[in-house]
């Protein structure tokens, strides 16, 4: 599971370099997110622009990634294609995460 990250003053951007987050890679994704996010900024934006497919295991791994950030940090999601967005909407996880259509939208938003 390839992740890369860049950090500005207040935001860490973690980019997913895989076209799917599914059951076969969910555990690895969660572990890589723990490593990548360690010691980063309070706000983490996960850039999903390159992700074309996600299943409920992948969704669970993103939820787990948010939990492991702890109470003082937050995980926002950016660049969801309509398919990925639908999985979040059906499971009502769109009410839990801040979802942004593009990474630029996420970075332009300074709410909370």
């Amino acid at each position: 599971m390839a992740l890369s990250s860049t950090t500005t003053d207040t935001t860490q951007i973690i980019t997913v370099h895989s076209d799917r987050i599914d059951a076969a890679m969910a555990i690895q994704f969660k572990e890589d997110m723990r490593t990548e996010a360690e010691g980063g900024a309070a706000r983490v934006v996960l850039d999903l622009t390159g992700v074309e497919f996600i299943d409920s295991s992948g969704l669970g791994a993103i939820v787990a990634s948010m939990k492991q950030l702890g109470r003082d940090r937050r995980l926002d999601l950016a660049g969801l294609n309509p398919f990925v967005e639908k999985v979040f909407r059906l499971t009502r996880m769109d009410t839990v995460f801040n979802l942004y259509p593009t990474l630029d939208d996420a970075l332009a938003s300074t709410t909370e």
Binding site: R20, D22, A23, A24, M25, F53, D55, S56, S57, L59, G60, A61, V63, A64, M66, K67, R71, P82, F83, K86, V87, L90, T91, R92, M93, T95, V96
Partner: protein
């Protein structure tokens, strides 16, 4: 497509092979003319159903094959998934109750969405246990035709 196009794939029930199999089936269905506005729903339900076989039917036993047969008609798609793993609990299709989101981040579910998604996205689900095989059939109706 009046007589239906069919697509068959069989693979070992491991997470890695299932991942490749699901991707291959999704692509194959699109090539055969699965309407683009239906493709997303089919991909999600298909993936959840196959993941269930890998994670539950073959839990604790040596994974054997998962066989998938798809038949695409003008106005509907049938997908038959068969395996020789353990039967579904109670020999019936599990309810599609969505996992509760809980009241805090710590309580958020990290799983339990599979059957809910399958119920939401299919038109009909049938399950049969026969000769040591699980046969799960999923039907997707295309209200606007297969244009």
């Amino acid at each position: 497509m009046s007589n239906g196009n069919s697509l068959d794939l069989s693979f070992t029930a491991t997470e890695t092979e299932a991942s490749a199999g699901i991707a291959q089936l999704s692509k194959g269905l699109e090539v055969q003319g699965l309407p683009a506005h239906q493709a997303g729903d089919v991909k999600i339900a298909l993936a959840e159903a196959i993941n269930n076989v890998v994670e539950h039917a073959y839990a604790g036993i040596t994974p054997a094959k998962v066989k998938v047969h798809c038949r695409l008609h003008q106005n509907w798609l049938d997908i038959l998934i068969s395996d020789t793993g353990n039967p579904l609990p109670g020999f019936r299709v599990p309810d599609g109750v969505p996992a509760s989101l809980g009241s805090s981040i710590d309580e958020l579910p990290e799983g339990g969405f599979g059957w809910f998604l399958i119920h939401e996205l299919t038109s009909d689900i049938r399950y049969e246990r026969s000769d040591g095989c699980n046969l799960l059939s999923l039907r997707f109706d295309f209200p606007n035709g297969g244009d």
